[in-house]
């Protein structure tokens, strides 16, 4: 990372460290939209961080933009930042206009057929969008980017916030995951043929969650090591006990593996969404999350089980994110399918190319 890139990440980290307090997170969980925080984030230009320069962005290295996503997760920032970055990337690729507020995207699950899949048809005054989009992150609050089938092939559309019929939902961290029902007409200039990037929405979502999990895990490790150095029992810090050290070493190993896996995802997201590294990353970070959260809570004892302690802001996110956009098993099976296709003698070449 160059110095300038480093500054972008550090500036974001400073903002998050100063502004994202437990009180702010709790208020967001209770349903209030942190407008001031959003404005501060927007002032840094972060929502546009993945938009290429020729499309009006800043020309930031995409890996730096994704490092900001990881950093945001390290602070459990209660905003749809990852979603906005990617949705704006898609809108830019499609040549559609981007809003100044938050934008999210809907990725239909690929594991099960949709109940009421999105359809879009030309109408006299634009395009008519119908269908059902379950569990859209911040679906009530943000504009929503969707890809819907049409007679002319897949189309991408931006639906302004407030237009869908919303059934509010959430995940374990009380991040909004709203069910949206569409039956509305969009102006012609908010719909376009879906660009190639928009055809891999589940991969993109999985890659973003993998990156976020790596960031949250880094914080879980930090909190756990710090607590183990401070908490005294039997006359010494619990981190001096070998049993605790061994667990923290495992936590560090899982965090390191998740970090490496998330880097694979970031590189794929920055380039052409190669599904194999993304599948590996989502599965590996998900597995790390399971093991790491268990250890972190064990090390923290009862205090870590309280609402007052901040550990749960990270562990609840990890427990939620590991199952979003496909769980470990889903993605492991995708990797396994690639291995089956490559065959026994193609396994090593597959590994060195990943």
């Amino acid at each position: 990372m160059s110095d300038i890139d480093q500054i972008v990440v550090e500036t974001a980290a400073r903002l998050f460290a100063d502004d994202v307090t437990p009180q702010l997170r709790n208020a967001a969980e209770a349903g209030s939209w942190p407008q001031a925080l959003w404005e501060a984030v927007a002032d840094l230009g972060l929502p546009e961080a993945l938009v290429p320069e020729q499309a009006g962005g800043y020309g930031l290295d995409p890996l730096v933009a994704l490092a900001v996503v990881r950093t945001a997760a390290r602070f459990a920032v209660p905003l749809p930042l990852a979603e906005t970055l990617w949705a704006n990337r898609l809108l830019a690729a499609a040549g559609l206009s981007r809003p100044s507020g938050p934008v999210t995207f809907f990725a239909p699950a690929t594991s099960a057929p949709s109940v009421d899949p999105l359809q879009i048809t030309r109408s006299a005054d634009g395009w008519r969008l119908v269908g059902h989009a379950p569990r859209v992150p911040w679906g009530a609050q943000a504009d929503v980017v969707v890809v819907a089938d049409s007679a002319d092939g897949p189309m991408i559309a931006r639906v302004p916030a407030g237009r869908a019929t919303v059934t509010a939902g959430d995940n374990l961290a009380a991040e909004p995951r709203d069910d949206l029902a569409f039956d509305l007409v969009l102006p012609a200039d908010s719909v376009a043929p879906a660009p190639r990037l928009a055809l891999s929405l589940q991969e993109a979502g999985a890659a973003l969650r993998a990156i976020q999990m790596a960031g949250a895990l880094e914080r879980v490790l930090e909190l756990s090591v710090r607590y183990a150095s401070e908490r005294v029992q039997f006359g010494r810090p619990i981190g001096k006990f070998q049993a605790v050290q061994q667990n923290l070493a495992i936590l560090a190993g899982q965090t390191a593996a998740a970090g490496g896996a998330a880097d694979l995802a970031a590189e794929a997201l920055a380039e052409d969404l190669d599904p194999l590294p993304i599948a590996i990353a989502k599965a590996r970070t998900g597995e790390a999350a399971s093991s790491a959260c268990a250890i972190a809570h064990q090390v923290h004892g009862a205090i870590g089980f309280t609402h007052e302690h901040e550990l749960h802001h990270f562990t609840r996110r990890l427990w939620a994110w590991r199952d979003e956009y496909g769980n470990d098993t889903h993605w492991n099976a995708r990797v396994g399918a690639a291995v089956t296709a490559a065959g026994a003698d193609g396994l090593w070449p597959l590994i060195t190319a990943a």
Binding site: Q246, L248, G253, A256, P277, A283, N332, W348
Partner: protein, 382 residues
């Protein structure tokens, strides 16, 4: 509080596809008739002819200066050759220790005479080494070593017993870690000596491992005379030298590929239509290898830049051993096969070998508990 972030920078770009292709071509021919059961013994597979071929190709001592028979190639080029060898199950044991550990030690700390006499022969794949660290009462606690070199006219007289000496019976030299100073100076009183194993007074006795195979040994020294010129580095510097050696050797591809051939055979046995559960299990292991390989290459990049990533290396080795030991456990849950060393079926045979070898993956080169202690220190807990 010190920040506990552990950085693994992006590994250097893999621009070595020509070298990789060259190695793959070579292996396709050289190992054409090597059966999976033999491939499963990669870094315990001893084959002097194969090592000589490697030497001819310039694939031993790759990073060493040309004046010592080396090839002045980068650590990353060496990494590519190593991982290709291991992934193909090539028998690398004969030259492995000399290439990885003993040669670099001589290069760093050896006398000019030692370097000139020995390094070119190692690089040619004709000179094999073993490591004399462990003893009956000194395993993890290496500083408890008792073997002693007592100064005598013109050199030392050595007495003591080394244990678990891998391929001691087929090696030309040992690097002996022993006491040369005051008994109560745990670290400062130790040195490393270069031992020609044909020296009188050395007895090498085989120890069979739990599967009956012979690779490690007991090596007994009885009044063995070693010349003063046998000292490697400075007298009394043994501890520091050994620690440097270990830190560098904990993150290579051998730290996560020991069971790789079993995974290959499992994929072969599963064929073209495995169950989803089997596919997910294989996919998971593959993803773990890809991830660890990335971390391991990241460490290689750090080493190439002259940094000392001891913490990262310990993390890679700990995670790698977990993976290597999990592969047989996963394979036996997704494929109905009874392991047997005498089975004519490749999968059964390879599984048998790996099940029986697996315990040592978290012992050799620093036990799991010792590694985790190093990690804890790196985290600032000790």
């Amino acid at each position: 509080m010190t920040e506990t972030s552990i950085t693994f920078p992006p590994p250097p770009a893999d621009t070595l596809s020509d070298l990789r292709a060259e190695v793959r071509d070579f292996l396709a021919t050289a190992l054409a008739n090597r059966k999976p059961r033999d491939r499963a013994r990669t870094w315990t597979g001893f084959d002097a002819d194969f090592s000589a071929q490697m030497g001819e190709r310039g694939w031993i001592g790759m990073t060493w200066p040309k004046r010592y028979g080396g090839h002045e190639r980068s650590a990353l080029e060496r990494y590519v050759v190593l991982e290709e060898m291991l992934a193909a199950g090539a028998p690398v044991a004969a030259h492995w220790i000399a290439d990885r550990q003993s040669g670099p030690l001589l290069l760093k700390a050896g006398t000019e005479e030692q370097r000139q006499a020995i390094l070119p022969r190692i690089a040619a794949g004709q000179c094999f080494f073993c490591i004399g660290m462990s003893e009956p009462d000194s395993g993890s606690d290496l500083a408890a070593a008792r073997t002693r070199a007592t100064p005598v006219e013109g050199g030392f007289r050595v007495n003591g017993t080394k244990l678990w000496t891998t391929y001691g019976h087929k090696s030309h030299y040992m690097i002996l870690f022993c006491r040369t100073g005051a008994a109560d100076d745990r670290h400062g009183g130790t040195s490393q000596l270069l031992v020609d194993l044909s020296t009188p007074g050395i007895t090498i006795r085989p120890i069979a491992d739990l599967s009956g195979e012979h690779h490690f040994n007991e090596v007994v020294f009885e009044d063995v005379f070693l010349p003063s010129s046998a000292v490697i580095g400075a007298l009394g510097d043994g501890w520091n030298q050994v620690m440097g050696e270990l830190a560098f050797e904990r993150s290579g591809p051998e730290r996560f590929l020991s069971s790789f051939i079993l995974l290959v055979e499992a994929v072969r046995a599963l064929g073209q239509s495995p169950s989803v559960a089997a596919q997910a299990a294989v996919g998971r292991l593959t993803g773990q290898i890809v991830t660890l390989r990335r971390l391991s290459r990241s460490v290689a990049g750090l080493l190439q830049r002259g940094e000392n990533p001891a913490l990262q290396a310990a993390l890679v080795k700990d995670q790698g051993a977990l993976l290597e030991q999990e592969i047989p456990e996963v394979v036996r849950t997704i494929l109905a096969v009874e392991p047997s060393l005498r089975s004519p079926v490749d999968l059964s045979n390879v599984l048998a070998h790996i099940v029986l070898a697996a315990p040592c993956f978290s012992l050799r080169g620093g036990t799991r508990e010792i590694l985790r202690g190093i990690i804890a220190r790196g985290l600032g807990l000790r």
